[in-house]
Symmetry: C2
Subunit: 125 residues, 2 copies
């Protein structure tokens, strides 16, 4: 059983990363077939960066890798759910545990996420 990459736009399957302990949804990213195979082989989340157009070994710069606990495919085989242990405690490049740190409100939004690190200190570009 493999995801059906051919079915997805540009061969990229959306991947939901979920914290295996807390159940928090951390982020959505994409995998092509090569990144999926590397994820299986290494036990660490490897995505495909649509902006940089290359494999994205999550955490290769920040050290905040995602150790894969388990992998699920959905009924249509066109979405992946990864349960992960997020090293460093933050999945988001803005320093929050989860990329979904903004809750929509009738007025606008509120920050509900927990900031774990200051991006300026982690990413030296």
């Amino acid at each position: 059983m493999r995801p059906d990459f051919a079915k997805c736009v540009d061969g990229l399957v959306p991947v939901i990363a979920q914290d295996v302990q807390s159940g928090d949804v951390l982020m959505l990213a994409y995998m092509n077939e090569a990144s999926y195979d590397e994820t299986l082989a290494t036990g660490r989340a490897v995505y495909y960066s649509r902006s940089r157009k290359k494999l994205w070994r999550k955490g290769e710069e920040s050290g905040h890798v995602q150790k894969v606990d388990s992998i699920y495919v959905d009924c249509d085989r066109d979405t992946i759910l990864l349960k992960v242990e997020q090293i460093g405690g933050a999945a988001c490049h803005e320093g929050y545990k989860s990329c979904f740190f903004r809750k929509i409100t009738p007025e606008d939004f509120e920050i509900v996420g927990e900031r774990v690190f200051d991006p300026k200190e982690v990413y030296q570009s």
Copy 2:
């Protein structure tokens, strides 16, 4: 604060539906701007069906609607997280609580999800 529909392929933003009580990831679907606005207005999840090319009022056939508890956008404003109460207990058209009922194993896969209903009894087509 709104999702950035213009940024997404065909104006469709991926939406992760998560059970607000259990934290289970239920499904991934897509919203266009009209479905997002109807979701906000009605408090029920309305998606855009890419296969049927029209608004998909989740549960309109099965009665298994999703009551929206809260809505989150990610750092890039190109993914939505919906926390929902899944009426009927099953989000998947195959009768499972979650569409992610198959866990990948080294051999193949195993069914780990809980089947709540028999699709043949719910969908009379």
